[in-house]
Amino acid sequence: MVTMTESGAGAPAKELVSLADTADLYATATGLMERSAAAFASGVPEGARDDGFFGPASVTWRMSTDLASPVAGLRSLLMQALHPLAMAGVDQHSGWRRDPVGRLAATSAYLTTVIFGERAAARQAAAQVRRIHDHVRGADAVTGRMYAASDPSLLLWVHGALVDSVLAAGSLVGTALSAADSNRYVAEMVTAAEITGVPRHLVPSSVPELDLYIASVRPTLRCTPAAAESMAYLLDPPGMDVETAEIWQDVRHAAIAALPRWARQMYGYDAVPPVTPGRRTEIRQSLGVLDAMFLGQPGVLEARQRITLRMRGGQRA
């Protein structure tokens, strides 16, 4: 999810990196899995004092451990980047070119803490994001419009795109939720938006509301050069070894195929083939390999087991 966080305090307020400068910065796309894993392992608490904002019986916990998560994450970024002001904030402030892996790992750490952490930890992480957002403001080079990262309307788009993507990725290549569980998931996630600073009553709390909301934002969406550049990077990250890159292609295919048609058209991905049942199996096999690689990182298996044990406790409760 594109929260507009800096990875550290005191980062340059208006850093503009020209495309010409980015070439060697691209070479750093290694270690994403290691750092995401470390964030995951430390974000799932041991001996938690409370169940956090969602809890082991929630649909949110179930969806956050689904095999389709990488697809949901990538689709979510693709959706979020289509908002020119949200994208401008990330582009001008987050330093993603300098440290793309750190940027993604920070997002992944934030989400893990909000979903699985204790309430205090989740609140603290959200407060930190809000503090950083307070300093993120500027003008979008393309539209000329002013933006502020703390603007609830931007935060809401980032949130809506994530929630919509988890549902879309789940139904395409992961665990498809029933209509009732989909609604429940959207309703549960309202809290995630609220703690970043969106008034609760503005946040969609059912699938129909979410669909309406996305339709209402759609006229303002477009693929700016910053969106095209950053997403091209994500879809084909440099520095990956050849074999992992081939596996990543399956994730990419699923993420693009899970986009709404209009979003694909904005990016110029109209020609992406549909996900047939056979392709779905192949994509899930690739996701399984990625998941196994993730599982091999220190602490990941233990964190997963903590989640499983608590979810089982939740079922009994």
Binding site: L67, D241, E243, T244, E246, I247, T281, E282, R284, Q285, S286, L287, G288, V289, D291, A292, M293, L295, G296, L301, R304, Q305, T308, L309, R312
Partner: protein, 482 residues
């Protein structure tokens, strides 16, 4: 290419067993006495109620954590589906071809294995009921709902049959056969994974071997028939024990065997050296008797697949990976060994290598270079007399395989039927090296080589000769041959 060379070299090692001429027999009285004792021990074959019961495949999966147990077929699919089960199997196989595996990959594969908990008692019972038509409490007089060991795609439960036999029941995870079969069809992804896991290996050779072997393991009936074959052949053997199959309680996803007891490999390591030597001798005899007499090779010589008792008795478990050879496939091995070891004819040896497809015809190499390249693998049986197989020796054999600098290496490859042999040999040398086993391996080999049939070289050999005379009256090799 590395794999191919590895195979070639181990294979050469196996072939040299068919080597030396018969030597004069050396019968000693103390040996005859020991043979009697060994034979007497053969009676106490199965001990039903031993606390240490069954070590399958050597996996201590999650110490069989019940709190994480898989409760539904969906849990199984989440854990072992989407390539993960296949990756685990790659991990097991890759551990035999070693070398090319990075520590990170090795760690990942180990973690993957750790990530598989047992089935819940209810889920395991459901599989039994689907297979036998009645729940386990009715199919068996007693059923222990808690698994006692993990197997590669299943787990092992203790039970007592309605007619009172203590058994070990291997129960396959539900749905796993279908999902692994589907995963094995994604050749492109498998190839990618193998390139990540073992970049230096011959990926296509490894891949086809992997697909065949894993495919075979999915149907327990195949394992049951292998186990029956070997149990029948070794029936009454002084030291080799194969648990009998209870056929009426065995199906595609259920394999019921007589329950065995014994010490695990780790415990054997604490026994006196002469006990370890005897155990090693039994393992050695089992591997090569099976090859030459039954034309079958058990492809999983893993320390976890043995149970040990004093006096060299070894129970062999897990026959999921048995390779059968036709007489035509075995013949080249024998021919190669004959030409170089018995007939001492390097040119004929070279020709037989070429005929069998191991050596490219017309390779620009001197025959002497070829022979020298192979010679290192004959170390343990080159001379009569006791030789200690050390871990260092086992590693040096492996290193020699991977010696890419040798000019010979570029011209050697392993025809498909023999690919599995390297698993056996690498595993065998690793196990014997681990035991620091000493024996007169050459003399033992002479007993076994079909065209030598040397006299009993050890007390165990004498006991074995008695057994052979009684159970396999026709002397000579490959009596089970068609």
């Amino acid at each position: 290419m590395k794999l191919i060379r590895l195979l070639a070299a181990v294979l050469a090692g196996a072939a040299t067993l068919v080597w030396f001429r018969r030597r004069p027999g050396r019968l000693r009285l103390d040996r005859a006495w020991a043979a009697l004792r060994l034979a007497a021990r053969g009676g106490a074959r199965y001990t039903a109620s031993a606390p240490r019961l069954f070590a399958a495949a050597g996996e201590q999966r999650q110490l069989l954590r019940e709190d994480l147990a898989l409760r539904t077929a969906e849990d199984v699919a989440d854990t072992l589906g989407s390539m993960k089960g296949v990756m685990m199997k790659i991990g097991q196989m890759a551990s035999y071809v070693d070398d090319g595996l990075s520590p990170a990959v090795r760690h990942t594969l180990a973690r993957l294995q750790d990530s598989v908990p047992p089935m819940s008692p209810r889920l395991a019972a459901a599989v039994v009921e689907e297979e036998l038509g009645v729940p386990p409490e009715r199919a068996f007089a007693r059923w222990d709902p808690r698994p006692i060991a993990a197997a590669s795609i299943g787990q092992v439960h203790r039970a007592v049959t309605l007619d009172g036999r203590a058994v070990a029941v291997k129960v396959q995870y539900p749905g796993i056969s279908e999902t692994i079969a589907a995963d094995l069809r994604n050749v492109a992804l498998l190839r990618r994974m193998l390139r990540i896991a073992a970049p230096a290996q011959d990926v296509d050779a490894l891949l086809s071997e992997l697909r065949d072997r894993i495919g075979e393991e999915l149907d327990y009936r195949r394992e049951a028939s292998n186990q029956r074959l070997l149990a029948a052949y070794y029936n009454g053997h002084p030291t080799i024990r194969i648990p009998g199959v209870v056929s009426e309680l065995s199906t595609r996803r259920l394999l019921t065997s007589e329950l065995s007891s014994g010490a695990r490999f780790a415990e054997l390591a604490t026994w006196p050296q002469h006990e370890r030597d005897l155990a090693a001798e039994t393992i050695y005899r089992f591997v090569f008797r099976s090859l030459y007499d039954v034309r079958a090779f058990n492809g999983d010589p893993h320390p976890g697949n043995y149970l040990f008792q004093r006096g060299g008795q070894v129970t062999f478990l897990d026959f999921g990976l048995v390779r059968h050879f036709s007489p035509g496939e075995l013949q080249p091995l024998i021919h190669m060994a004959r030409t170089i070891c018995v007939e001492h004819d390097p040119e004929a040896f070279r020709l037989s290598l070429e005929d069998a497809g191991f050596l490219r015809r017309g390779a620009p190499l001197s025959t002497q270079a070829i022979v020298e390249h192979m010679a290192v693998f004959y170390d343990t049986i080159r001379e009569p007399g006791p030789v200690t197989i050390t871990s260092d020796y086992a590693s040096s054999v492996v290193r020699r395989f991977f010696d890419l600098r040798s000019p010979v290496a570029d011209y050697i490859s392993v025809p498909r039927p023999y690919v599995v042999l390297q698993r056996i040999n690498l595993g065998l040398f690793a196990v014997l090296g681990e035991l620091a086993a000493t024996a007169d391996w050459r003399a033992i080999s002479e007993e076994i080589w079909p065209f030598v049939q040397g006299p009993a070289a050890t007390p165990m050999g004498e006991a074995e000769a008695v057994w052979r005379a009684r159970h396999h009256a026709t002397p000579g090799p490959a009596r089970l041959a068609a």
